[in-house]
Symmetry: none
Subunit: 219 residues, 4 copies
Amino acid sequence: MGAVKTKRMPRAVREQQMLDAAVEIFGRRGYMAASMDEIAELAGVSKPLVYLYLNSKEDLFTACIRREAKALVEAVRAGVHTDLPADRQLWDGLQAFFAHTGQHPHAWSVLHLQARTHGEPFAAEVAAMRAEIVAFVTQLIAVAAREAHRAPDLPEHEVAGLAEALVGAAESLAAWANTTEGVSARQAAATLMNFAWAGLGNLMGGRPWTAPPEPQPLT
Amino acid sequence: MGAVKTKRMPRAVREQQMLDAAVEIFGRRGYMAASMDEIAELAGVSKPLVYLYLNSKEDLFTACIRREAKALVEAVRAGVHTDLPADRQLWDGLQAFFAHTGQHPHAWSVLHLQARTHGEPFAAEVAAMRAEIVAFVTQLIAVAAREAHRAPDLPEHEVAGLAEALVGAAESLAAWANTTEGVSARQAAATLMNFAWAGLGNLMGGRPWTAPPEPQPLT
Amino acid sequence: MGAVKTKRMPRAVREQQMLDAAVEIFGRRGYMAASMDEIAELAGVSKPLVYLYLNSKEDLFTACIRREAKALVEAVRAGVHTDLPADRQLWDGLQAFFAHTGQHPHAWSVLHLQARTHGEPFAAEVAAMRAEIVAFVTQLIAVAAREAHRAPDLPEHEVAGLAEALVGAAESLAAWANTTEGVSARQAAATLMNFAWAGLGNLMGGRPWTAPPEPQPLT
Amino acid sequence: MGAVKTKRMPRAVREQQMLDAAVEIFGRRGYMAASMDEIAELAGVSKPLVYLYLNSKEDLFTACIRREAKALVEAVRAGVHTDLPADRQLWDGLQAFFAHTGQHPHAWSVLHLQARTHGEPFAAEVAAMRAEIVAFVTQLIAVAAREAHRAPDLPEHEVAGLAEALVGAAESLAAWANTTEGVSARQAAATLMNFAWAGLGNLMGGRPWTAPPEPQPLT
DNA sequence: TATGAATGAGGGTTCATTCAT
DNA sequence: AATGAATGAACCCTCATTCAT
């Protein structure tokens, strides 16, 4: 199952093999439970070579996060055409997102679970990527509102909250789509678009929702 | 900071002290990085006693998950009054959810991050709780639709997807609310209700969203 | 050859056994070449127990240095009676010194070679002991001079240099006495007393030695 | 700080660069802690070249010891003029010794500490050099005694002991002179000459020292 | 003459777990 | 009801050393 044992490869190639193996093992076992021995074996090299090229378990993990974060962002970017309407951009982006995470489950596990579960060096790394995506979505929502000649006065932090919720929902659905039989990337994206665009309110006949008054302490 | 060292306590009490300590350490360090030594010390007992009562690290972790899952579900249940309208039930449930997770961050970390990050014995445990909540939300959505005399033909798996998305968004927002300064449980709940009920569509002037046609392979 | 494997001993006893083993191995192999495995085996315990009681290789080494430094100083102190004349005190001290180092060659190796060969944590430890001994000798020389109603104006730093030279010579002779067949502690002490007291000058018929004039740079 | 990276140099030159680097690293880190990697890097060559020229870490260390031992002996020899009186020869030799060790602290560390701290291959190497110096001093003492028409019957092993003590004191003072601020080679040599020639006895008004009778076991 | 690529072996350290009291 | 004493197994990391060019 591991890489075929080929000897004497240039450093750049070997490094990618090591990262491939590391992403798989980190994704499967988790950061702490992953052993450098297993990673080296899967990469088809000896352990010292892994250390020679990637310094330490922490550095190796960081390198994995960086590579996979970059790959995910690029996959989403490649799926989006900025000259299309905002809703279409969101739809395309979501599809690309679900497709990529579905095709690289270990990488998604590394980004979504492992990196956030362990301390600051790693969480920051993935937080940067997430911020980038949230910013992208925030801007899409703003553009969409403008296109619809609506909500010129939508408060900014409200939009941020909505974007956060959308991205959060997408992240959760990624796990759902990857685990549940018969749910494709397209279906996951459609569900989320329906949820986000039409809202549940549509089901209720347009009756808008308003928060009940905050309970006051008895005087 | 740990439990006061009192000798000769009944077993049930000691067990709760141990679980308290374990939840805190598991939540802070993660499952693998948590050491039985640290847990025993924080609980104010010797290590063999932990093993005598809770058998193994795995069993201890499982016990933590079970206790905290039950507590979370009960907290949400206690916040909801089933004789109120569906939207009010959802609103109350969300508030209870965000309040409880905010007040028990270690417990939420155990349920949301640690349990899912490590293999099958634990993921299943928390999946059961999640299924319970998703079912509750699914039924709420159905009730709401019926109350509004709408969507009599809404396909079931569509509703399930929406519920999944809603719960996922809530889980993501929990982290957001707990980390972001100045975001209270009430605000997080409001943001999510707006998102779910009004949808983004409202911003767009009611223009409904429809998926573009699936690309067909060339004949 | 190692300690008899007796189970379940109180901590204090086990610690001494470990220090015994550690001193022997450190003395034989040197600090870096000594392996914790070998030390544990010689002590008749498992490695984790060594770490449980003594924390780390560095701490173990420090503990060895402290114990042996204290033992050596006490051995010398026990040999000296402060109510005897100064020369007799020096003679007795030297004998005790050579006897102790001869009987504990590994300990002497740890103090004289290993501790000084490795960085600051350790060198400082043994420097303190050495300073104590040098101070003792310095004072002895001063007392001897006073007893002889001589050298009331002997400059202090001169005395310090002499004491340093005497202690250095003693340390070197310790190795010589321990390695050379047929040289006892008594003989080593006698040689050094002759050297220090009578000086080589006696051999020369009392002709005192004076430094030639320092060469001046050409004007 | 390392050698400038120049390609294609004759073997003899490269070897000296490697030995320079090795002496510095061995002196700074100690034999075991020194890594071939660091030595090669400081020498400005690749590791295989070090092995090609010097075979192994042991051989490299031996080569260092040999080169530096030779250099030290030659430095002392160059400082001594055999046609001068014995005390002047000793004085000049000591000055040369302290000057050389002060100027080459890493080399002195290799000879005095590292070589003796590690097993037989190396200790023998430096013991040979030391024996040469002790023999030189022994002969100087004998000559001085003859010049003074004294001590025709001085037992040989007594002289050897005195020489040993003198050399040992010199070695110890070398460390003292190199570490203590404001102690020059000249001062160190003067202190030692005073100690050796005049002796402490001079301070005592010529009162000779005699060993107290050896304690007899009770009959 | 010179080096990039690669590894077997071993060392320090920690952990979950048990025994005997 | 509770603990001090003890360990097998594994993990991260480093090093001296070689191969193929």
